[in-house]
């Protein structure tokens, strides 16, 4: 049996408490948010609030759902996030496939160049983007917001897909071509089915990013808020309970999507083209 050195042992022993502390650090704010949304004022507006819920209530949820104000922002966020993901996939997949088949010395610079747009913070370019979109009558439209989200989503999804497509042997494509498939058919019938896991990962990240996106939504929305914008409103103007309930509703799809597709979240898919 290999003898483990002291450093390795210490690392293993320290890993669990560190992971536990990190888990608490990430989870406790979420638990507090959910707790506030389900608690009566007696549990919250006190000098020493209890850790558990003593006066549970669904009043805050009932109030928000009965008011009906959440339906439209929720729907808009859902449409925009899903539209961004589908469109990003349709645009990025063929491009990522081509990049993945480039000679190695070209592949990395081309991939890095995709990220040049990501070097500019959204806050810095959102105004310029909004000016053009307003000129093109895209204020308050789902298409306008989807296109704005693609600015950030495309490089990222392309990066993940390049890494995914790279793992598929070229010989498989050649065999398919030998059987009579064209380039697009190879992509559709051979590459994509084999890379479903990587595609799922790219879709998760794109969807979540678009769902939570705030800056472009702020500039390109006037009468039709997205859910993050609506939550922002309640954080500033609403009661603590409304803010907590809206925040919880905003977070729920994130949990659902991540929980459902988490089996695809393997580190290999996230290294992109930076391999070997």
């Amino acid at each position: 049996m290999r003898r483990r050195d002291t450093g390795e042992v210490l690392g293993t022993v320290a890993a669990f408490p560190a992971a536990f502390a990190f888990m608490l650090f990430m989870l406790v704010p979420v638990l507090i948010m959910v707790k506030v949304s389900l608690s009566g004022p007696e549990d919250i507006f006190t000098q020493h609030p209890p850790f558990l819920i003593h006066h549970a209530t669904l009043d805050h949820w009932r109030e928000i759902i009965a008011a009906g104000g959440i339906r439209a922002p929720f729907q808009r966020s859902l449409v925009v996030a899903t539209g961004t993901t589908v469109l990003a996939l349709l645009v990025a997949a063929p491009g990522a496939y081509v990049i993945s088949r480039m000679p190695r010395k070209w592949r990395y610079p081309v991939l890095v160049s995709l990220f040049l747009t990501r070097m500019f913070p959204e806050v810095g370019i959102a105004l310029a983007v909004a000016v053009n979109f307003i000129r093109w009558n895209m204020l308050d439209t789902d298409l306008g917001l989807i296109l704005a989200h693609l600015i950030g989503a495309l490089p990222f999804i392309a990066w993940i897909l390049v890494g995914t497509f790279e793992t598929i042997p070229v010989e498989l494509e050649e065999a398919a071509k030998t059987d009579g498939c064209g380039r697009v058919a190879v992509l559709r019938r051979v590459i994509l089915p084999l890379s479903l896991s990587g595609v799922a990962v790219a879709c998760i990240f794109t969807w979540l990013w678009s769902w939570n996106e705030f800056t472009y939504a702020l500039y390109l929305s006037l009468s039709r808020n997205t859910l993050p914008l609506e939550t922002y409103y309640y954080l500033g103007r609403g009661s603590l309970f409304n803010a907590a309930t809206y925040s919880t509703i905003l977070t729920l799809p994130v949990f659902l999507v991540t929980f459902t597709l988490q089996k695809y979240l393997r580190s290999g898919y996230l290294t992109g083209a930076v391999k070997g």
Binding site: P41, L127, V131, I134, R135, L218, Y219, R237
Partner: protein
């Protein structure tokens, strides 16, 4: 055949012309308005304020919720795109300079006569920049002092009326509970600037000078008060102050009147009372906040927007805002009755309004705010000598004033 063809063509042309005109005739005029309101306030606006105007002018008012800071960004984008979609905004009177500097709002000097004679005089300078009127008065607002009546009674204290009493209250709470319970907004944001204006003016100083006798006196007092203040003061702003008061973390603090809804109505903390606050060694003073009306450059329905502005300033609307929203009126002849539970808080707001003074409209406001907040941090929070710190701040400000 030729004749029937001519008849047919005439009918066709008539239909085409009418088809073009009728949709235009049938189309309702639309007024797009940006406001920043709470949920209950929106209910009143949509149910009681907008419909009479819509009926009188045969138009549809599309009012959207947009915070004042966000309104600047949206107007900037629309103006740059040369496609202004907004006709009128109600804007926080502390965020006006940018709109004027960027040329986003119309000069409304020709509409001075819309301002009624009975308008609160302190509201008049707020909308003026370099002698031109860019904003019409609409809604005054002022901070009031919230206090926890139960805790004050417990230690036999009264809400402080002057600085000496304030210091005694702060020291008593610290001594009895081992932690400060009086909060000032020391989060080094614009909320702190408002507080500093209050204290400096209460000491007879001019905040824009930074190192006159009143400024030195105010900063010296704050330096004395600071060790007895609540540690929550460093996070206290217009939003968190309500939570600190509601959770009994703070027993005395100034905040805007919307806190009444958050703490008393939603939080059911009826022991949280309010009054106009304390005076300084020279006078009582509150920064005049609130909102004003502006019309963006390029507004698609400018004439209708002016009518709407006049409507919002009318006595009828101001009385509705008082009775249904609990807002103080901007004109002295507008009377309204608020709900019973709101009355003490409304009285506190009106008492505070009597000593309300607006902030000056200067183009170098952003730089000024950085300097005054830095002086506060160095002298009050870090304990550096007040006079030297303020002299340095004044020297830093001097070139900006030219």
């Amino acid at each position: 055949m030729k004749r029937s063809g001519l008849v047919f063509l005439t009918i066709f042309l008539l239909l085409a012309v009418l088809g073009g005109i009728l949709p235009v005739l049938g189309a309702q005029k639309k007024l797009t308005v940006l406001m920043a309101l709470g949920e209950d306030e929106w209910k009143v606006m949509r149910a009681a304020i907008l419909p009479p105007f819509e009926k009188e002018y045969g138009c549809r008012v599309e009012a959207y919720q947009v915070e004042s800071s966000d309104a600047i960004r949206k107007l900037e984008a629309m103006a740059a795109a040369k496609k202004m979609e907004v006709d009128l905004i109600t804007q926080d009177n502390m965020l006006l300079a940018q709109l004027v500097e960027k040329g986003l709002v119309e000069d409304l000097s020709e509409y001075r006569e819309l301002i009624p004679e009975t308008i609160l005089k302190s509201l008049l300078p707020v909308g003026e920049f370099r002698g031109k009127l860019y904003f019409l008065p609409y809604r005054p607002n002022v901070e009031i002092a919230y206090y926890n009546e139960t805790k004050f009674k417990k230690y036999g204290l009264q809400p402080p009326k002057n600085w000496d009493e304030l210091l005694v209250v702060a020291k008593t709470f610290k001594e009895k509970e081992g932690i400060g319970r009086v909060a000032i907004k020391a989060d080094l944001s614009s909320c702190t600037t408002v507080h500093l204006f209050d204290f400096i003016r209460q000491a007879g100083g001019d905040p824009m000078k930074l190192n006159d006798a009143g400024c030195v006196r105010a900063f010296t007092f704050l330096q004395q008060l600071w060790p007895y203040c609540s540690p929550d003061s460093k996070k206290a702003n217009w939003n968190y102050m309500n939570r600190f008061l509601a959770t009994d973390s703070v027993y005395l603090g100034w905040n805007w009147p919307f806190g009444v809804n958050v703490i008393v109505k939603d939080g059911k903390k009826e022991e949280i009372k309010a009054y106009a606050g304390w005076a300084g060694p020279v006078k009582a003073s509150h920064v005049l906040g609130g909102e004003v009306i502006g019309i963006p450059v390029g507004s698609p329905h400018r004439a209708l927007a002016v009518k709407f502005a006049e409507y919002l300033l009318s006595r009828e609307v101001q009385e509705k805002l008082v009775s249904q929203m609990g807002w103080p009126a901007c004109r002295s002849d507008a009377y309204g009755k608020v709900e019973k539970w709101q009355q003490p808080y409304f009285a506190a707001v009106n008492a505070a309004l009597e000593t309300a003074e607006p902030r000056p409209n200067v183009t170098y406001w952003a730089d000024f705010e950085k300097i005054i907040l830095k002086a506060f941090r160095l002298s009050v929070l870090e304990g550096q000598p007040v006079k030297a710190t303020l002299d340095a701040a004044a020297a830093e400000l001097a070139p900006l004033k030219k």
